[in-house]
Structure formats: C-alpha cells, structure tokens
C-alpha cells in the first residue's frame, strides 16, 4: 500500500475572536488569582484537616470537620443528606431543617435547638457559615436519634459515627500450624489498606465500621506473632499485628477472613527454573489438608498448596473492564465464566479457588499476592471482549530488564521461571478449544498480573464467535469454553505439578 501523510490543519484565529481571547485572558488572570488565593487558604488549612466517618445501612461516607470555638463542628444538612430527604431554609435568624417528616429549628449563636418541638442542648453555639448550618460534633449523639428515630453511636475521640446496628465485629485466633498463622474473621466483608512495617503489619479500615474487640490489646502467646493492638483515630480503625518475623496478609474470596502469615511461606517457594523433567507431581491437596512438603532449603517448611488452580475473574468493583453492551459489563461476564470454570475444573478433580466471586475491588497486585501465597499450580485470569472472534489464550509478555537480587525475584518479572510451562499450558488450552471448533489464538500479552505470578499463569479472553455479544452470557457457550479450558489444564496437570 502506498499512501502519504494525510491532513494537516492550521487554525487561523479571526480578528473578532482575538478580542474574545483577550477577554478570556483577563478572565483567566482573575481566575488564576482567585485560584492562588483559594489554594493558599486550602493548603494552609490542609495539615489539620479532620474527617468524620459515617457508617450507616444506606451508605458509608466521610465529611470534613471544622474547628470553631475550640471544638469540632460538622454540617448537619450534609450529614443527613445521604440518609433521606432533607431540606433547609433560613427564617430570619432561625435555620429550619427538615429531614423526612422531622423538623429541627436552630438559632445562630445559641446552644439550644428544637427538634420535634423538644429542646436539645448542643453543647456549643449553632453556627451558620456560607449557608451551612454547623453543629458541634458532640451534639450528634443526642440530635441524630431524634431526627432518625434510631440509635446513633459517636466515637468522639476517633471521629467515627455509627448509625444503627452497622458495626463490623471481628475475632482473632492463632492457627496452630507451623509456622503459625493469625486468622482474623469479620462479620462483614472488609477491604483494609495493608502496610508492612518492621515488626508489624498494619491494617487500616478507613471505610468499614470495624469496632474494637473486647480488649484493645490481643495476646496470642506465640513468639512469632505475640500480640495485636486495636485503635481508632481520625475516622479509621487500625489493627497493628506485632511480630518478630516479616508477615504478609492474604484475603479470603469473600473478604471476610484475613490470614496473616510469615512471608517465608511465600518467599521460600520461589521456584527454581522450571524443570519439566520432574514428572512426579504432588497430588493436589484438598482444602484443609496439610501434607508435609519436602523442604527445599534449610528453612521452615513452606505452606502446603491448598488449591491446584486459582481462577481470577478480572476487573470488579469500580473497574468495569470493557463495556460490552449498554447492559453488559466485562466484570460481570468474568464472574460468570469463573464460576463455570470452577465447576468444570472440579468435575475433573482439580481443586479450584475463585479469587473474585462478587462485585469487589481487587487490585492486580493483590491478585498476584493471593495466587503466589496459595502456591497454585496454575493461575487463570478470565477476560471477556466484544471484539475479535472466539477465544484468545495469553501467556505473559515480560517487561524489559531482569532485576532479580539473589534469591529475591523482581516483582515485574516474577513469572520468568515459569514462562515455558505457562506457554505450554496456553497451547494445551488453545488445542482443546480448537478441538471444539472454537476459533482460538495463543499469544503473549503485556497483561498484569501474569508477569507477577511466580507459578504458571495464563489469561483467557472470551469473545463471541460471531458479532453477537449476548453469546457471552449464554450458559451453553460459557460451558463450552470453560470445559475446553478445564480439559486443557487437566491435560498438562502433570507438567504443572512438576513446575510447582
């Protein structure tokens, strides 16, 4: 094909428009000045910024707190807005707030308010600022039950407000494995941020109504994990697990259980370069069993493999993936495919863990950590696409560089040692799909977290056979594809076991 550069365009500004540009410049100048002023004020106030975390059945949210007259204040209208129908109006010096059918009357500068005709002590003056009615934080414990008709519990020291019975409780127990694991079980799904520090793992629950156990300090009588401390501050609950050794946290698929275990259970499993000549796989361990693996090094025995296959429904939560149609999102199709693949694998005797079985946010790093921690014989990420015909099976396209340091593998190229086995697995899966007359291609792809997984890892992108995206949701088609994938995995089961 011969062709030359296409259009080049130059825009000439007409004379009339240049005046508009000048005016725009003046506006821009004034806006810039205002912006600088605003940012100066904002930045000056930033370091002391405090938030109130509100937990309710309707929504969990946070609101800024402002300090006035030596105490924290919060906007009452903003606080009630997510919970129901709310309106407010000024009536002379009185501020009338209506929440559903309940009316409250507040007067600027006074400590008293009327809610449903009854007086209430605010513990500080009611303030009006920029049409916002501000009440002292401490007054919420008495004001809110009157507006809401139900209990509201304020943790004043930590700026946390619980509306109704929404608290998430947890238990902590030390599993008597070797090495020991701390198992935290929560009454509702949680998604804390995890920070590893020297001698501790810190779990910060900024968005969940996690509350204190019976005692703020939990002791476990273990040398490796002696204790944990619970605290609350600035709208968040923090659990610090103290330890004498490096720890790592892993999450259960339903996000209700967090297991904290020594990192060497993972680090010591870093495989040597894959040796496909080892045809003696360990039989896949069933969940709950703990076969004794032969230690490869003079170190504590690595944790047993719990699942042979880890199936990952890609995307989830805020990450929708591709919008396949006006009513169909990739994240929903991948969950359905993952469930179908689990059935197919388990029907072939392959124990399977589905990483995401609900509409939850799960960062790619976390997915790789979970797959690595589980020492799965194969990690299978599932994607769906409206483009292309049939199925694509991917193995990792590794990024540039090899930054391994001694026994420590680079996170970005952790897959390198298992790549040949991954490619074999991808070929086997592609072969099974072909047998079933499904158009298929095996390719490399720069697709995370394939490159972060230590063991064999593939991704399967399922597209419709024709142009009808609705086929992706058809159980028959899903079963046809996942059945082929499961057969492909089963065909190389021995090789995968050897790579582990």
């Amino acid at each position: 094909m011969h062709w030359t550069r296409g259009r080049r365009s130059f825009r000439i500004i007409p004379r009339g428009e240049s005046r508009g540009v000048g005016q725009a410049d003046s506006c821009s100048l004034i806006s810039a000045c205002l912006l600088i002023l605003a940012s100066t004020v904002f930045l000056r106030g930033a370091p002391g910024e405090k938030h109130l975390s509100v937990y309710s059945v309707a929504a969990n949210y946070s609101l800024p707190l402002v300090e006035r007259e030596g105490q924290d204040y919060v906007g009452l209208l903003e606080l009630l807005e997510p919970l129901g129908t709310v309106s407010a109006r000024m009536d002379g010096t009185r501020w009338r707030l209506r929440y559903n059918n309940v009316e409250g009357i507040f007067q600027t500068g006074t400590n008293r308010a009327q809610v449903v005709g009854r007086g209430a002590d605010l513990g500080g003056a009611f303030l009006m600022e920029n049409n916002r009615g501000l009440v002292p934080l401490g007054s919420l414990a008495s004001l809110l039950p009157r507006f809401l008709g139900g209990p509201a519990t304020l943790h004043g020291d930590s700026d946390r407000l619980f509306i109704g019975s929404v608290a998430t409780h947890f238990t902590a127990s030390l599993a008597s494995d070797n090495p020991p694991r701390l198992v935290l079980h929560f009454t509702a799904p949680v998604n804390p941020s995890v920070a590893t520090e020297p001698g501790a793992v810190r779990l910060t629950f900024a968005h969940e109504p996690v509350v204190s156990p019976a005692s703020a300090t939990l002791t476990f009588g273990s040398k490796n994990i002696p204790s944990a401390n619970y605290s609350e501050r600035n709208g968040a609950a923090v659990l610090v697990v103290n330890s004498a050794i490096p720890l790592m946290a892993t999450f259960s698929a339903d996000a209700r259980t967090i297991t904290i275990a020594p990192t060497f259970t993972v680090a010591q499993t870093l495989p040597p370069p894959a040796t496909p000549s080892l045809p003696t796989p360990a039989p896949p361990a069933q969940p709950g069993t703990t076969p004794a693996p032969a230690p490869a090094r003079a170190a504590p025995a690595p944790a047993a493999r719990r699942y042979f296959a880890v199936v990952d429904a890609s995307h989830g939560g805020d990450d929708h993936g591709e919008t396949l149609s006006s009513t169909l999102l990739e994240k929903d199709v991948t969950v359905a495919l993952a469930r179908s693949l689990r059935r197919e694998l388990e029907s072939r005797g392959i124990s399977t863990l589905v990483l995401r079985d609900s509409d939850a946010n799960l960062p790619v790093d976390q997915r790789a950590v979970l797959a690595n921690a589980d020492r799965a014989a194969i990690y299978i990420a599932l994607h769906a696409s409206s483009s292309g015909h049939g199925v694509r099976v991917y193995s990792a396209l590794l990024p540039y560089g090899r930054d391994d340091r001694g026994p420590f593998l680079s996170w970005t190229t952790a897959q390198r040692g298992s790549l040949p086995v991954s490619q074999n697995a991808a070929s086997a899966v592609a072969g099974e799909l072909q047998k079933r007359q499904i158009p298929v291609r095996a390719l490399a792809a720069p697709l995370r977290p394939l490159n972060n997984v230590i063991g064999p890892a593939i991704a399967v992108e399922v597209g419709p056979q024709g142009s009808d995206v609705a086929q992706l949701t058809a159980p028959d088609y899903q079963q046809l594809v996942t059945g082929a994938v499961a057969s492909g995995v089963a065909a190389v089961r021995d090789q995968l076991g050897g790579a582990q």
């Binding site: 094909m1 696409s385 720069p446």
Partner: protein, 198 residues
C-alpha cells in the same frame, strides 16, 4: 445650594457608570454565550519538508486481530528523535482515518518521542489517545505492538520502549495493556510474529 455644574457633572458620571456597567454586562453575556471553540481533533505536527523515504509501518487489523507491515512514503527528518516522532504521528494519522483498520478515538495524538541512551525510547501519548481507546486485551495489545514495532523497525538501536500518557505513567492503556514498565523490544518482536496473518 449645590451649584448647577456639579449636578450636571454628577449626572454625567452616573450616566457613564451606568453605561459602563451595561457594557460590561453585555460583554460578559456575549462571552458566556459564545460557543466553545470547536475541538480540533486533527493531530498537529510540525511540517516536515525535504526528500521522502520509504518506511514500513506495522498496521493493526481489528477484523482478524493481526499486525501487517505496510510501506509508506513520507518525508522524514535526519534527526533520530524527530524521525521517531514523525513515524508514529504518521501511524496515528492513519488510524484516525475513517476507513482505518484499527480506529483510534478522536483527538488521539503522539505528543513526543524521546530517545534515551542506551537503547531506550519513551513515547508520550496525549490523554485523548488513552481515554478514548477501546478496552480489551487484544485491541490494546495491537495498538501497543503497532507503535513499538513501527518505531523499533525504522529507528535502529532501540531495545526498550516506555509509553507515557500526558507525560505521566499510567497503569494500563484502557484497562488491560500494561504501561507501567518498559517494553522489551525483543519480546514485542516475538509477539508481532504471533500477530502475523496465518
């Protein structure tokens, strides 16, 4: 008693103030009503003159998910960096055409290309490129492979390529293709082989 001329002066001043206020109000309304300048989605590039050269562009084809070499005759500067920029802008201009085999979103543009020794190239795309890109593993892989292989095949000495968006690192192109690390050109070459028509 206020002198008459002061009355007149005051009246004139008030009139002038009123007139200016009306004028300011009118100007403000005019500016507010003025339609926003139409977004020019055509990539702007410095005009290149001089002799043309035959180059090989690796063009993505969505209908069968392949990457095919196609020759083009374009004017190329002698400077390596400018050559790389011009190549990729030509490639993107092709994808922006209506009958393109692999369409990119309106406004997609290569902002610049930097060559970094030893063997590094950094492609800086604009945000419209990534924000309007279709999501999907294969479709994103085709774009990335097309950009990288075109530059590596025509500008010798490039062994790794990093893709930025608006000068900043971005996790993925459109939810799938990883942009967080340098691409290994030898690995991409292997991928391009796999993407050839069967």
């Amino acid at each position: 008693m206020i002198p008459r001329h002061l009355h007149i002066a005051m009246g004139v001043l008030l009139g002038a103030a009123l007139g200016l206020s009306l004028y300011a109000w009118h100007v403000r309304k005019t500016v507010a009503r003025a339609p926003a300048a139409a977004v020019d989605t055509t990539p702007l590039a410095p005009p290149v003159s001089g002799p043309t050269e035959r180059v090989i562009l690796f063009i993505a084809h969505d209908e069968d998910g392949t990457l095919r070499p196609e020759s083009a005759q374009i004017p190329l500067p002698s400077d390596r960096q400018q050559r790389a920029e011009e190549l990729l802008r030509t490639l993107v201009a092709y994808y922006l055409q209506k009958n393109s085999t692999h369409t990119l979103g309106a406004g997609a543009e290569v902002r610049s290309v930097f060559l970094v020794d030893p063997g590094g190239a950094v492609i800086d795309l604009n945000s419209a490129f990534a924000d309007t890109h279709r999501s999907g593993v294969l479709v994103e892989v085709l774009t990335v492979a097309s950009l990288i292989h075109t530059i590596a095949a025509n500008v010798p000495g490039i062994s790794r390529v990093k893709i930025l968006v608006d000068g900043k690192q971005r996790d993925t192109l459109a939810g799938h293709a990883d942009l967080s690390s340098y691409y290994d050109v030898s690995g991409v070459n292997q991928l391009v082989t796999e993407l050839q028509p069967q």
